[in-house]
């Protein structure tokens, strides 16, 4: 890295050097072609300036071979970069198995973070070094975006659904995160820091700071408090299906079709139950939109997941 006048942010994730390599590659290509054009124009403008004695016999005004060359060569170079960038993107897009899940809720103008173990933070995100961390994010109001320059990742955070991004930190330290989608008056203040800790230190932090019961435990409490247990009986004889083993499984729906019971499905089923009804059941579940905060929804989801099930990483889903 250049000290004194950096042009790269800190490189603190597994993705960062790879994104920087792509950037450098594009930069070299850009400098090359820009210089080529600049010099060609400067050279011609000087050599063929009015009154100069250069040879101007037989000026051409068309050449099919030349046109094809300067269409096909840029096209090939473009596709080289396209495949490089798309491949890197697909690798950056889906978290590897075994990732630590952290819930993030954005609201005007702060970030609320909830770890599965129960730790809560505001505008700070403690993460362990060397393990993949997946952020499961939603917004309570407008579209935000969670941007960590040092990790080279960014993902819009939407109201009404989950979006995810993941990273694996490679260097301990503190790094900026920013809201990167304009969201109103204090958009520029909706920032914070990611704190990357050595694994042992992270475990100590989880056990100690701003604790609280694990999300699944709190979720179990909510499951009783809001009456879910009265319909979702464990022996499948209630008005709602039993939930043990559901998380990540394939569910058959009323009216045909199936869906993978990922986090997004669980979220929707709590907030908007009539959207997808399980086959054999009636759409009698009350709507909980407006009654549960995003934090509480996440806690319920963690509880349901704790009841077991195939944790299949669905394409595009939020398992």
């Amino acid at each position: 890295m250049m000290h004194g006048f950096p042009i790269f942010p800190p490189s603190a994730s597994t993705a960062a050097p790879r994104v920087d390599a792509l950037f450098t590659g594009l930069m070299i290509m850009t400098v090359f072609f820009s210089a080529l054009i600049f010099f060609a124009i400067a050279f011609f403008a000087i050599r063929y300036r009015e009154g100069s004695k250069a040879n101007r016999d037989n000026p051409r005004s068309e050449s099919l071979p030349l046109e094809l060359t300067w269409m096909i060569v840029p096209l090939c170079i473009s596709f080289g970069f396209y495949f490089w960038a798309s491949t890197l993107y697909t690798q950056m897009h889906v978290a590897p198995p075994g990732a630590v899940d952290v819930y993030v809720v954005g609201k005007q103008w702060m970030w609320k973070i909830q770890h599965q173990q129960g730790n809560r933070e505001i505008n700070e995100l403690h993460v362990p070094l060397g393990r993949p961390v997946r952020l499961i994010m939603t917004s309570q109001d407008v579209i935000h975006s969670f941007f960590i320059p040092a990790f080279r990742i960014k993902q819009d955070v939407l109201p009404g659904r989950y979006s995810t991004e993941w990273f694996q930190a490679t260097t301990p330290g503190e790094y900026h995160f920013f809201c990167a989608q304009f969201c109103g008056t204090s958009h520029a203040s909706m920032i914070g820091r990611v704190i990357v800790m050595q694994p042992a230190e992270y475990e100590r932090w989880l056990a100690g700071a701003a604790g609280g019961a694990p999300m699944a435990t709190v979720g179990e409490g909510l499951f009783q408090q809001f009456g879910c247990a009265s319909c979702h009986l464990a022996n499948n004889s209630g008005r709602g299906p039993a939930l043990a083993g559901v998380a990540g499984s394939t569910v058959e729906l009323e009216g045909g079709g199936t869906v993978v019971a990922d986090r997004e499905y669980l979220r929707e089923s709590i907030l908007d139950p009539a959207a997808k009804v399980v086959r054999g059941y009636k759409p009698v579940m009350p709507v909980f939109r407006g009654q549960l905060s995003p934090d509480q929804v996440a806690q319920l989801i963690e509880y349901i997941r704790s009841l077991g099930g195939p944790r299949v990483a669905a394409k595009g889903g939020t398992p």
Binding site: F33, I41, Y48, S78, W84, Q155, Q181, F182
Partner: protein
Amino acid sequence: MSPHSITTHEHYLNAGYGPRSWLLTTDHKRIAILYMLSITFFFFVGGFFAFLMRLELLTPDGDLVSAETYNKLFSMHGITMVWFFLIPSIPSVLGNFLVPMMVGARDVAFPRLNLLSWYIYVVGGLFTLAAMIFGGVDTGWTFYTPFSSTYAHSNVIPVVIGIFILGFSSILTALNFIVTIHTMRAPGLTWFRLPLFIWAMYATSVILVLATPVLAITLAMLGVERIFGVGIFDPALGGDPLLFQHLFWFYSHPAVYIMILPAMGVVSELITCFARKKVFGYRFMAFSLLAIASVGFLVWGHHMFVSGQSAYAGMVFSALSFIVAIPSAVKVFNWAATLYKGSIAYHTPVLYGFGFIGLFTIGGLTGLFLASLALDVHVHDTYFVIAHFHYIMVGGAVMGYLGGIHYWWPKMTGRMYPEGWAKFAALVLFVGFNLTFFPQFILGYLGMPRRYHVYPPEFQVLNVLSTAGATILGIGYLIPFVYLIWSLRHGKNAGRNPWRATGLEWLTPSPPPVHNFDEIPVVTGEPYTYAGEEEQRE
């Protein structure tokens, strides 16, 4: 020295004086001047907003204006510059003046609709300006929902109405150009004998006609959502905020081609005239304009790579975005090849042309950074994007506009501008521009997000450089403003064709008579027949 009255012939400027002769004119040349005055006004309004922003950004803290005011400033800067300056600039000023003359016609197909388009522009512009002054709008020029539909407390509805109204002005201008170019070409003027400026106006007009209505209906639905709260874009009511983004960008990406294609048309005229040479690869140049216009409708999703759009959609849009760059590259290579074995004179218009080619090349190539999925994840919504589009809009389109203004100034006014001052201003603009926007590429990659009025202190040095550049840039724009006005009274008499250019517009006296041609010319050859000075067209 130069006489105050330049010529004794009757022309479009002295054929009738007084407000009524201007405000009720149907002469395309007068309408072009009316547009020129209006867009210049909005350019300085939008520039003023930008200057206040750059002043705020001198320091990391928000000490000049409040957050809310800053948010309004960048929103109003974008809205003013995009809709009230860039989109109309070359088409409504240079296009209106030149399209009929370049095709050998006496006026556009629908002169009264032309005047109506200017009135609609003024009404839309004043309406939006009033909304901006009395309260402002703070959603960004992109109006993303649900913020703009449900949460914003600013004058969203009046601004959206103003832009909706303005859309009709764009549509009428474009409709006029399409019909004029199709049906009113002079005898012998086949499609492949048209100047490339006409091809550029044609391609731009097709985009204007097809894209603007989508903006209109999107803004209408946004307005309905904001007033009635029915859920079209609000997820709390079952709507999809991404639908807004798709509809908005379906217009707004082609809109950027509306802003650049006309400048490309100008540059082709400048390079050929001042290299005294036929353009290299005429057909490829013409078809590349059409290719940019059509493929440009297929890439809008590249603004939404991190929006929650599916990864598969992202990959399709990324591929198409790389493809749309190719015809632009073809144009840059052809312009360079046109200079080969030419005879190049360094007058101000072509200096702007060279500036365009250089800065457009950088701006366009940085577009490939943004088209690259993995990289866009990092630089989306940062200053990298701002630098990219300002290289193209300001380094490209505005330089093209200024180059065209200088080139056709003698034709429009009968006067020459002062060449020394003009070259000086072009240099000041080039330096100021690069100092303003090059640091922003670095700021963006370092991670400074857009639309931030406060930032971490480590970003300050680059911001200071950028503001210094903006100051120079602002001074640079004032210089032509002053000397062009000065030249109206004191500029040298230009004569019919001071550049010894080809093109039907140069056959007429300067300024041209109201009906352009005494007799409609008959065209017998290709454009840009500069081969050998002794073979000049007379």
